[in-house]
């Protein structure tokens, strides 16, 4: 990372940004208009792309991927076997919650990289203490 990330971006933040029907669209439109250094993972990108494939079609899916390419303040954190072990530990810690592996990976990476802010509308991402941006605005 060129500069320390200020926030982790979850799939829900990206969908709120692109879907003008979403209640949180105005907030994320404003946040993304002047973003700090942001990080996410390929898992989040895959979820966003899958959302477009399921709700729309492959053309919209490709537009979503083009958006990720355009979004230069957003850096992808590498995810491998070590990170997956960390995410599974998170899932075991919060085994009473319906966490996806993507959620757990986000929680793990925020702890690992000491990222205090989280751009998400999903309360799961705040389970380990991260500050959800929707609660600050």
């Amino acid at each position: 990372m060129a500069r320390k990330a200020e926030a982790y971006v979850d799939t829900s933040a990206l969908i709120a940004f692109v879907d003008r029907s979403d209640t949180h669209h105005p907030l994320f439109r404003r946040l993304f208009s002047a973003p700090p250094a942001l990080v996410t993972t390929a898992l989040v990108v895959a979820e966003g792309h899958a959302w477009f494939l399921r709700r729309y079609d492959r053309v919209r899916g490709l537009q979503f991927l083009a958006m990720i390419e355009d979004l230069r303040p957003l850096q992808l954190l590498a995810v491998g076997a070590v990170e997956q072990e960390g995410a599974v530990r998170v899932m075991r810690r919060f085994s009473d919650q319906d966490l996806t592996l993507t959620d757990a990976m986000g929680i793990h990476l925020m702890q690992k990289h000491k990222i205090g802010g989280c751009w998400s509308t999903d309360f799961h991402l705040g389970l380990a203490g991260a500050s959800l941006v929707i609660n600050e605005h």
């Binding site: 940004f17 692109v18 879907d19 003008r20 029907s21 399921r54 355009d70 979004l71 996806t100």
Partner: protein
């Protein structure tokens, strides 16, 4: 506004008219919106052209992602 002419196939024209009718806008407005998704309004923030690119009709869209991607339980 600058007036211009474009050529569309019959299929493209019919599909565009249908989508414009669905959204309750003119064909010209549909084409302008389509163009805005292709041409960055601000070269320093090219991702902003994607803001609000879809209108799902679901105000809880970002909170229903798991149900869309992974399906409902049961």
């Amino acid at each position: 506004m600058i007036r211009t002419q474009i050529s569309l196939t019959e299929t493209e024209y019919a599909a565009a008219k249908q989508e414009a009718a669905r959204l309750g806008i003119s064909l010209a407005e549909l084409l302008r919106r389509s163009l805005r998704t292709m041409i960055p309004a601000d070269e320093s923030r090219p991702w902003m052209r994607h803001a609000g690119m879809v209108e799902s009709g679901d105000p809880d869209s970002s909170r229903n992602i798991d149900a869309v991607i992974y399906g409902q339980k049961g």
